[in-house]
């Protein structure tokens, strides 16, 4: 059994079921992100783990112990909030020491641990500051140190970076990940930012309307999305409608262009429609590009995005976007040009709901 096990978790607020049959096992020392759109139930699950909400059904176990009858202050779980939630009347050192004082640790031990934690977040020099004298990023680091100081079994972070500006968001998420790996603490991180989830997680749970649509490594989630929702939520993705020509040979058509898929089509009949997914970065229109498969179409737009140029072309009824890396000599395709995109047939994923 996993270290943190959620079994058939359900939660209803009145008549509304917000979490529906959620199952997951999280290993000791693992960093798991809950990724999903607003209102899909991420915070609710986190709050059930912390004990602030009671599940309507199902069980939560940490290290083999059921959490059912434990109050939030008995669970030994560290929590970091979006709004920092530092105690305004205490300075940095006292904030970090709070949990240790409550646990009745001796003064010398508390002082040593506070020092260690402030070193970990590189804020030793601000120990005497009060929360209102610090930037958001600094406050959130203190909140992290405060949550970690009592050595919790599990660390929960609910969109800890959403209130910060873009630059700090990136550096702090890397810092969080480094500290997490250094301490080996089991961590659940809630976010609705896919880049954040992809960049720092061991595994990602993509949530949709109270359910886990897919659980997997960032690599799996990005490259092998198992549902249409995951495919469209994570990364930019072309969703292409194709017609089945011959299920036996995996032959399909997009517009009037025939393609043979690698992946078996499964139980479909000739004439059925299937959804295919293709990442914008999977193909190339360069002269002599590699690839066993090609699609041609007319360019309908071409946008300069800095490091890449994103071009959209029309193939039959579908619009397919593809990216080219920017380089000084590159001539972007013009609207109205007919271009041929080459890629490997295995890059075309079949999306089964």
């Amino acid at each position: 059994m996993s270290f943190l096990t959620l079994t058939s978790i359900q939660k209803s607020f009145g008549p509304v079921q917000v979490v529906k049959d959620f199952n997951m096992g999280i290993e000791k020392g693992e960093f798991v992100s809950f990724l999903g759109p607003s209102g899909c139930g991420k915070t609710t699950i986190l709050r059930m783990i912390a004990g602030f909400e009671t599940p309507s059904g199902g069980t939560i176990q940490i290290g083999g112990t059921s959490q059912e009858n434990l109050k939030p202050n008995q669970r030994n779980i560290g929590m970091v909030f979006q709004a920092y939630a530092l105690f305004p009347n205490m300075n940095v050192a006292d904030n970090v020491a709070f949990g240790l004082k409550i646990a009745g640790k001796p003064k010398a031990e508390i002082d040593a641990r506070v020092k260690e934690m402030l070193g970990l977040i590189k804020l030793d020099h601000l120990a005497e500051r009060y929360p209102y004298q610090m930037s958001g990023g600094q406050q959130q680091r203190v909140a992290l140190a405060r949550a970690l100081a009592p050595k919790p079994q599990v660390l929960l972070l609910d969109e800890p970076l959403s209130a910060l500006d873009a630059k700090i968001r990136v550096s702090l998420r890397e810092e969080i990940r480094m500290i997490q790996q250094q301490l080996g603490i089991t961590t659940v991180f809630v976010t609705h930012d896919q880049e954040e989830a992809l960049s720092i997680s061991d595994r990602i749970v993509v949530m949709n309307a109270g359910r886990a649509d897919q659980i997997g490594t960032p690599y799996e989630i990005y490259n092998r999305p198992s549902t249409r929702f995951v495919a469209s939520f994570v990364g930019t993705l072309n969703l292409i409608e194709a017609k089945v020509v011959d299920p036996a040979t995996n032959r399909i058509t997009i517009g009037d262009q025939g393609i043979t898929l690698r992946e078996p089509l499964g139980a479909v009949r000739a004439g059925d429609t299937v959804s295919l997914a293709l990442r914008p970065e999977a193909g190339s229109i360069a002269e002599g590009a590699k690839g066993d498969t090609a699609l041609s179409g007319e360019v309908i737009s071409s946008n300069f995005l800095g490091s890449v140029i994103r071009t959209r072309m029309k193939v039959g009824e579908s619009v397919i976007s593809f990216d080219m890396f920017n380089s000084p000599g590159l001539v972007p395709p013009a609207v109205g040009d007919v271009v041929t995109l080459r890629f490997t047939a295995s890059d075309l994923l079949i999306i089964r709901e």
């Binding site: 912390a50 202050n73 530092l86």
Partner: protein
């Protein structure tokens, strides 16, 4: 703004200040006239020398402190709980705390005397201590509107729910949360409620007189009825106490260490 509007504004302000300060000035001036022909502090000296002044004032100060403690113990947890768990109940609780402004103190005290007289189930008026307790609770009721409002406003400046959860996740129980997290963050608000309570209790007449306790309010009244200059000196002293309280409220709210809340 035109010059005329500005002049009119100043005129209104000056009129208002005169309206307040001329009578006060007269009061003060008269209180200095105890000795024929010269200004003197004789009236004040006689007031301060009066053992009754010392006793009643001391009694009222102690009652005020007791009232403040009872008020804090009742109001802070209540206002906190309402904000945290029953936000829907806030308008009702607020309405309830305003009742003492609507119901005259005389009604409250007659109610008390009826409920707690010597032949009742809880004969509080039967002993001095019991009557003191009754008086303190009566004062608490009178101060409730001010105390509740002050504390509730203070609670609005902090994120009560998230701070509570943060403390809980760090292992804190309710007593710790209230004592170490919530109360310290509303201290300025609690203090301003406390100074208002102090000012109310020091001058209160009805409850103390009808419960027959040796408080400062009834003493003021007695002196006023029987002496010439001393009542005016006393009035000036009473004003000074009230203003002292108001000044302290200003001070605490200005020098409070907590940050203004971010949205």
């Amino acid at each position: 703004m035109s010059i005329w509007a500005r002049i009119a504004g100043w005129a209104a302000l000056i009129f208002g200040l005169l309206y307040f300060f001329v009578p006060l000035g007269g009061l003060f001036e008269f209180s200095l006239k105890a000795r024929r022909g010269v200004y003197s502090l004789d009236a004040y000296a006689s007031v301060f020398a009066d053992p009754q002044f010392q006793q009643t004032f001391g009694y009222s100060v102690i009652m005020a402190l007791v009232t403040i403690v009872i008020g804090i113990l009742i109001v802070v947890p209540t206002a906190y709980w309402v904000r945290l768990k029953m936000p829907w109940a806030r308008p009702y609780v607020e309405f309830l705390t305003l009742m003492p402004l609507v119901i005259p103190a005389i009604v409250i005290v007659f109610g008390y005397i009826r409920l707690y007289n010597t032949s009742s189930w809880l004969p509080l008026t039967g002993s001095v201590m019991g009557t003191n307790i009754l008086l303190a609770f009566g004062y608490t009721i009178l101060a409730l509107p001010y105390m509740y409002r002050a504390v509730d406003t203070g609670l609005r400046t902090i994120d009560v729910a998230t701070l509570t959860e943060a403390a809980q996740s760090l292992g804190a129980g309710w007593a710790t949360i209230l004592g170490r997290v919530i109360l310290p963050n509303v201290i300025p608000a609690v203090l301003s409620g406390a100074f208002l309570t102090f000012a109310i209790v020091i001058g209160e007449f009805t409850l103390a007189a009808l419960l027959d306790r040796p408080a400062f309010g009834p003493y003021l009244q007695r002196v006023g009825a029987n002496k010439a200059y001393e009542p005016f000196a006393l009035s000036v002293i009473a004003f000074a106490i009230t203003w002292g309280c108001l000044a302290l409220i200003q001070l605490v709210s200005r020098f409070s260490k907590t940050a203004p809340r971010k949205a």
